[in-house]
Structure formats: structure tokens, C-alpha cells
């Protein structure tokens, strides 16, 4: 019987592991419940927070008013049921049962023995219990309790639903981790406070316990008085009546001020120490939301100039640099920058960057060929297709950059040489062309990609009407044949994917582009 059950379990585990639909569902629920980077998780969290507030509203309303039966039903059964389903789903997605069974089976097969069912089950139970023992899971379980609302006491378990709020608020998780970083200091403070409370409670009880005018007639009152006084709240419902009692009060008040100051400074210092970490986490979160961006590795002086150009074009940029000072400088300039090593794989794992979907171009702009080659190799190993542009500081390293998979290499020295040659040869023409490249010039050279619709509406160059928009058509880059046709004749055929190279004032170019896209206007 046990053998049959074991075989059944193993075959089910293998089937589930190879079942795409099962894995897809499991991944979906895992993302929905546990993955903060999953885009639909926030909607789920908002929904759960809404349910919690409904529960709390019902609890408060119930104190003095009759609550609508339908609402009570929703509170006691529907919401509880949703929480129950959520709890079971979390239990399911936290830790893989199939993985344990398969691993156990493979392990036993390797050792040439029978499948150890008990061992596998014990591992499964242990794994699930370790999840269930987590504070968050306990709160989840207690939040389901109002389901058994007939037991009056269990109604108070609604309050555990409020604690569930912490699960859906990331900032609370941050707070807990901040406080956890000062565990030792808080423990010391707790010990000190406990000793002060204990000593002062004993003292005040011994001194005032037998005094008929005193309110402290039992030890609990003494502890209560100590806590109220130490916290500097001082309700005044219990006050010492003897000289000795007042002396103890002075001692406890002074200790209280110290305890509070220490407590406050602990929290402040913990937050200060972790502030950069929080800011970085927030920046990474914001980067994950970007649809497309330019990744700049190294905040060099050339990178600063490039960023100026990109900002002009309203493009999203992310800078990573291994130098803390440069990162801070970039942040001051309003650039999204992170203190990460551009050549390290870990940096991109921390960024959660999806090169294929998010990164338009990677620019290796460190003024060091070694760093640029290393960075290019790292990025190329993460994504085969992302476009990489790199600076080259010394021509002997050109081949190394090409070998590392860099698509475009910029060698400033060579550029300056070429520019100088043209500059001294044809200064006026050079200036005319250079002006087109400059961001300060109002006249621009731009590219317009011919779409299917444009090609249908304007099949020939002569149909474009660029002169009406005061635009010079320098030429057409034909997708077919990948050739540039300078100053094409009017009968040149335009096809989807061709690129028009136009020169003109930017607003006119935009108007011209709009005109090309507008089918109706052409029809008129």
C-alpha cells in the first residue's frame, strides 16, 4: 500500500513539474502574492487593504449600532473566505512540495534504495510548518478566525486583520529591518528599562505600600506607577506621598528622560545609517517602472555632456558608477544614478534590469579602456543583442572592445583629427554641417521613418510636399538594398521602412511628419 502511494506521489510530482499550465499558475500566484516587482501585485494589495478597512469599520460600527445583515455576512464569511484562500495560496507557493519529492526520489534512486516516503513527508511538513510559524503567516491565520464569529471572543481577532496591513505596506517591512539592525542596542535599552522599572517598583512599594494615604496598595500599582512615570507621561492618578517616595520619583524621572533620549537617538541613527539603502531601493523600484532607458556606465565628463543632450531630447537615463563621489555628483545634477560597479553581474541583478525590454542602448563612457572592455563583456554575457556604444581612449584597444561585443566605438582623438582636417579645409561648409549637429542650433537634420500608411498615401518622393514645410530633403535611405539615395528624383518610389533624411526647423519637421501621418488631410 505504501509502495503504491509512493509511486502515485512520485508520478504526480513529475507530472506537475512538467505541466506548463500548473507551473504557469503557480508562478502567477507567487508573483501576485510575493513578488513586489510584479505589476499587478499592487492592485491585489489595494484590494486586500480595502477588505481590511471594511472589517475594521464593521467592528467599530458594531459597538453602538446595528450593522446591516448583508454587510455582516460579507465581513464574517466572504472576507474571511478570501483571507482563507489567500492563506492557502501562500502556503502553496512558499516552498515546492514537488521539488522535495523529486529530489528525494532522485536521491534514493542514486543510492539504489526504495523511495523514503516518510522522510519526504517529514521534509514537506517541516517546510510548511516553518512557513506557518513566521509572524506574518500567524497573523494571516488569526485574521481568518472571525469566520467563527459565533464565539464572541474570536470577533476581536478582526484586529489581526489590521496587522495584515503590514504585509501590504512595504515601508513597514523597511521599518522592521531598520529596527532589527539595532537589535543589540534595543536589547540593552530594554534591559536597562526593565531594571529601572523593577527597582523603582520595589522601592515605591516598600516605601509607600503600608502608608494609608498612598494609592499604591499592591505591587501591580507600583509597576503601573513606575511605567507611567518612566515614560514621562505621568497621569497623576497615583502619586507618592512620602519624602522617600518623591526621592524615588526624581530618580525614575531622570532615568525616563535618559531612556527616551536613548530610544529616539537609536531610531534616528538606525534610519540615518540605512537611508542610502532605502533611497537606492526606491531608485531601483523607479527604474523597474521605466519602459525604455539609456544605461550609462561611468559618470565621466563626456557622460555629463551626453546626458545634457539626452535631457534635451527628454530621454530617460540611468547612470551607474563605481565611484561614490561621482554618483553623488550625478544625483545633484538630477540624474538617476546608482553606486554600482558597471563591470559586475551583481549590479544588473540588483537593478532587475531587462536589457531586451528596457535598455535602448548601453553607453560605456568610463575613461578607461580596461573598465569599458570589462563592462561590455559583462553586459554582452547578459544580453546578446543589446546595443553597446563605448568610448575608446587608446587606439591599441580598439580590437579588444570589438571582441567584447561593442557595436559602436567612439575614439575622441580620431574625431578631433578628422574635425580639424575638415575645419581647416572648408571652414564655412564645416560650420554649416556642424551647426546641424549642435543642440543650440534651431535648424536640425532629422530622420523620418516611412510607415505603411505613409507609403500608401505618398508613394513617390514628388508627393511629399516638403518644400511647403520649408524642409530640405537631403535623401532617402532605402531599406531595400540598404543604400542612401542623395537628392532623389520626384519619381523615386517610397516603401515602408525607408528613412527620409530631412533638414529644417524642428517645429516644421514635426509638422511635416504629422502631415505625412495624416491620411485624411492627404485625401482632402
Amino acid at each position: 500500500m505504501q509502495h503504491f502511494f509512493s509511486r502515485l506521489l512520485i508520478s504526480l510530482a513529475y507530472r506537475l513539474r512538467s505541466s506548463q499550465s500548473y507551473q504557469k499558475r503557480r508562478r502567477f500566484f507567487y508573483n501576485l502574492l510575493e513578488n513586489d516587482n510584479y505589476k499587478y501585485k499592487k492592485y491585489f494589495d489595494f484590494f486586500m487593504i480595502f477588505l481590511i478597512f471594511v472589517s475594521v469599520f464593521v467592528l467599530i460600527r458594531e459597538v453602538h449600532h446595528h450593522v446591516n445583515d448583508a454587510l455582516m455576512f460579507v465581513n464574517n464569511y466572504v472576507i474571511s473566505f478570501i483571507f482563507l484562500v489567500e492563506y492557502l495560496l501562500r502556503l502553496w507557493v512558499n516552498g515546492s512540495v514537488t521539488k522535495i519529492i523529486i529530489e528525494q526520489d532522485e536521491h534514493d534512486a542514486m543510492l539504489g534504495r526504495e523511495f523514503q516516503l516518510k522522510k519526504a513527508l517529514s521534509k514537506i511538513v517541516k517546510m510548511k510548518l516553518s512557513y506557518m510559524a513566521q509572524p506574518k503567516a500567524i497573523v494571516d491565520l488569526l485574521a481568518i478566525m472571525p469566520f467563527f464569529h459565533e464565539l464572541r471572543l474570536l470577533r476581536l481577532f478582526v484586529l489581526f486583520r489590521v496587522f495584515k496591513l503590514f504585509r501590504y505596506t512595504k515601508s513597514f517591512t523597511g521599518l522592521v529591518s531598520v529596527l532589527a539592525s539595532k537589535k543589540f542596542e534595543f536589547f540593552t535599552l530594554f534591559l536597562f528599562t526593565s531594571i529601572v522599572i523593577f527597582v523603582s517598583s520595589v522601592l515605591i512599594y516598600v516605601i509607600e505600600g503600608n502608608n494609608p494615604n498612598s494609592n499604591i496598595q499592591n505591587f501591580f500599582s507600583a509597576i503601573y506607577w513606575s511605567v507611567v512615570t518612566l515614560s514621562t507621561v505621568g497621569f497623576g492618578d497615583i502619586t507618592p506621598v512620602s519624602e522617600e517616595g518623591r526621592f524615588v520619583t526624581i530618580f525614575i524621572i531622570i532615568s525616563g528622560v535618559g531612556v527616551l533620549s536613548f530610544f529616539t537617538s537609536l531610531i534616528v541613527s538606525a534610519f540615518n545609517e540605512r537611508l542610502d539603502e532605502f533611497k537606492e531601493a526606491k531608485t531601483i523600484e523607479n527604474i523597474a517602472k521605466l519602459k525604455r532607458f539609456y544605461l550609462i556606465c561611468g559618470y565621466s565628463s563626456i557622460a555629463k555632456e551626453v546626458i545634457k543632450e539626452y535631457k534635451f531630447r527628454n530621454k530617460a537615463i540611468v547612470v551607474i558608477d563605481s565611484d561614490f563621489g561621482r554618483v553623488e555628483e550625478a544625483k545633484k545634477e538630477g540624474v538617476t544614478a546608482l553606486h554600482l560597479k558597471p563591470g559586475s553581474m551583481e549590479s544588473y541583478e540588483r537593478l532587475h534590469v531587462d536589457f531586451k525590454k528596457q535598455v535602448h542602448v548601453v553607453l560605456c563612457l568610463q575613461q578607461d579602456d580596461v573598465e569599458n572592455v570589462y563592462t561590455a563583456l559583462t553586459i554582452r554575457s547578459l544580453d546578446k543583442h543589446v546595443r553597446i556604444l563605448s568610448l575608446l581612449m587608446n587606439d591599441i584597444n580598439r580590437k579588444k572592445l570589438q571582441f567584447a561585443g561593442v557595436n559602436d566605438i567612439i575614439y575622441p582623438q580620431e574625431l578631433i583629427g578628422m574635425i580639424t582636417k575638415e575645419l581647416v579645409g572648408q571652414p564655412v561648409a564645416f560650420e554649416a554641417i556642424h551647426a546641424l549637429r549642435s543642440e543650440n542650433s534651431s535648424v536640425k537634420i532629422d530622420e523620418i521613418i516611412i510607415t505603411e500608411a505613409m507609403a500608401q498615401n505618398y508613394p513617390y518622393v514628388g508627393d511629399l510636399g516638403n518644400k511647403r514645410f520649408r524642409i530640405v530633403l537631403l535623401g532617402v535611405y532605402k531599406k531595400r538594398g540598404e543604400r542612401f539615395w542623395f537628392n532623389p528624383i520626384d519619381s523615386t518610389l517610397l516603401e515602408a521602412g525607408d528613412i527620409l533624411l530631412v533638414i529644417g526647423y524642428m517645429p516644421f519637421i514635426k509638422e511635416f511628419e504629422k502631415h505625412l501621418m495624416s491620411r485624411d488631410e492627404h485625401a482632402k
Binding site: R313, Q413, V428, R437, N487, G504, Y505
Partner: protein, 241 residues
């Protein structure tokens, strides 16, 4: 046979070498370095002079022929480069000075020091990076026209037969009748340059002496030249920024 013009390059860094390699076909190159021991790549091919910025180092003869001499200030230290430019300008009013600068701050200082043309390294590199990414085709075409052996050429043609336009404004002229060339801009006698479709080009008729900047194939440019005027090689001393 006419003597080649002279290019005097101050500095021996990689930029200086690259400039020397680029202009050696047009100019005779002479280097000026501060230290006798300074190695210059291909030093056998170039003349090497020693100078000391703090000293009275001018060999006046070398700088006298301002018509045929161009000076490149390519020292590593920005301050020294500015000092060099001021020293040269204060002694030789008409000398053509070209300098490279790391950033915008140095550009303005070098311009104030009297340099005719300053090439900002970082800004220029950034512009080209930006172009390669955003307008790759345009960048390739312009790069080909400007720097590489492309069939397309840029030319500046001086107008000599303005009467043939009969007072027409540049923006209204049907340039398509001059097959093969694309007219980009007009440079007037007062050295102001206007895009062919600018407001000014719509109001100011072409006059003899104006310069037209065109792009085209060599043969088409030659044909255009025949009809409009002649190709003009601008003298550096006429040119100011």
C-alpha cells in the same frame, strides 16, 4: 611650385599626433614641446622645437607668415593652453589659432584669449554619440560627407552671377533646376549664415559675393559652379566666430 602651408602644433599628446596625421597632406608640420625628452610618435617625420612658456621663446620668423601659418594649441594643461594662446595673440594679431578644450569653461577662456576656433572635445564627442544613437542614418551620411572618402561633397560657392536670379529670394528659388545639388545655406558678405528656408532667406535677395553651401556629387557641383560663380576657399584671416 608653391610651398606647402605650415602647421605649428604645440603639445605632443594623442590629440596633437592625430591632428598632425590628419592635416599633414595639406601642411608641413612642426611640433613645439616643452621638454627635449618628450617623445613624439613618428618623430622622424616631424620637426621638433623646444619652448618654455615662462621664457621669451618666440622665434619670430616662424610666426611672421600669418597668411600661410596655422597654429594648433593642444597642450595638456588648460591653463597653459590659454596662456599660450594669449602669448601668441598678443604678439601676432593675424595669426590663425585653433585650440582644443576639454569643456565649455575652457572654450570661453580660449575664445577670450583670441583663439579663432576652439574644438570642445567632450561636447563634440557627446554630440556625435548622441547623433549615432538617435539619428544613425543622418550621422553616417554627414560623417561620410565631412570626414570620409564619400562621393558626396560639401562645397562653398561664391555667387558671381546674382543678376540671373533677378532679385529672387534664396528661399523662393527653385533650386531643383540645378540638378544634383542640395542647397543648405547662404553665407552673406557680413559673414552671417542663414539656412536656405530661414525668414531672412525669404526676404534678402542673393547678391554677388554671397556664398552658397551645397551638398552634391563633384560633377554636379562643378556644373553648379559654372552657372552660379566659383568655388571659394575661405581665407582663415577673413573668418571669425
Amino acid at each position: 611650385m608653391q610651398n606647402k602651408k605650415r602647421a605649428l602644433i604645440f603639445g605632443s599628446n594623442k590629440y596633437a599626433i592625430e591632428i598632425a596625421n590628419s592635416v599633414q597632406s595639406i601642411y608641413d608640420i612642426e611640433f613645439f614641446v616643452t621638454d627635449e625628452k618628450e617623445e613624439i610618435e613618428f618623430s622622424g617625420r616631424y620637426v621638433k622645437n623646444i619652448f618654455d612658456l615662462s621664457d621669451d621663446w618666440y622665434n619670430v620668423e616662424k610666426f611672421e607668415d600669418t597668411e600661410n601659418t596655422i597654429v594648433f594649441c593642444v597642450l595638456d594643461e588648460e591653463a597653459e593652453n590659454v596662456f599660450l594662446a594669449i602669448s601668441l595673440r598678443s604678439n601676432f594679431k593675424d595669426l590663425v589659432l585653433v585650440a582644443i578644450a576639454a569643456n565649455k569653461e575652457s572654450v570661453s577662456k580660449l575664445k577670450m584669449a583670441g583663439v579663432n576656433k576652439v574644438i570642445p572635445i567632450e561636447q563634440t564627442t557627446a554630440e556625435i554619440i548622441s547623433d549615432i544613437i538617435h539619428n544613425p542614418i543622418a550621422s553616417k551620411v554627414l560623417h561620410g560627407i565631412l570626414y570620409e572618402k564619400s562621393d558626396l561633397k560639401l562645397a562653398q560657392i561664391e555667387v558671381e552671377n546674382a543678376e540671373m536670379f533677378d532679385g529672387e529670394f534664396p528661399a523662393d528659388i527653385d533650386w531643383s533646376r540645378y540638378q544634383g545639388v542640395v542647397v543648405l545655406s547662404i553665407m552673406h558678405k557680413d559673414l552671417t549664415t542663414e539656412f536656405i528656408y530661414s525668414s531672412k532667406a525669404k526676404r534678402t535677395p542673393l547678391k554677388n559675393g554671397d556664398m552658397i553651401i551645397v551638398v552634391g556629387y563633384e560633377a554636379d557641383i562643378a556644373e553648379f559652379e559654372k552657372q552660379i560663380g566659383r568655388r571659394k576657399y575661405v581665407n582663415w584671416s577673413d573668418w571669425s566666430w
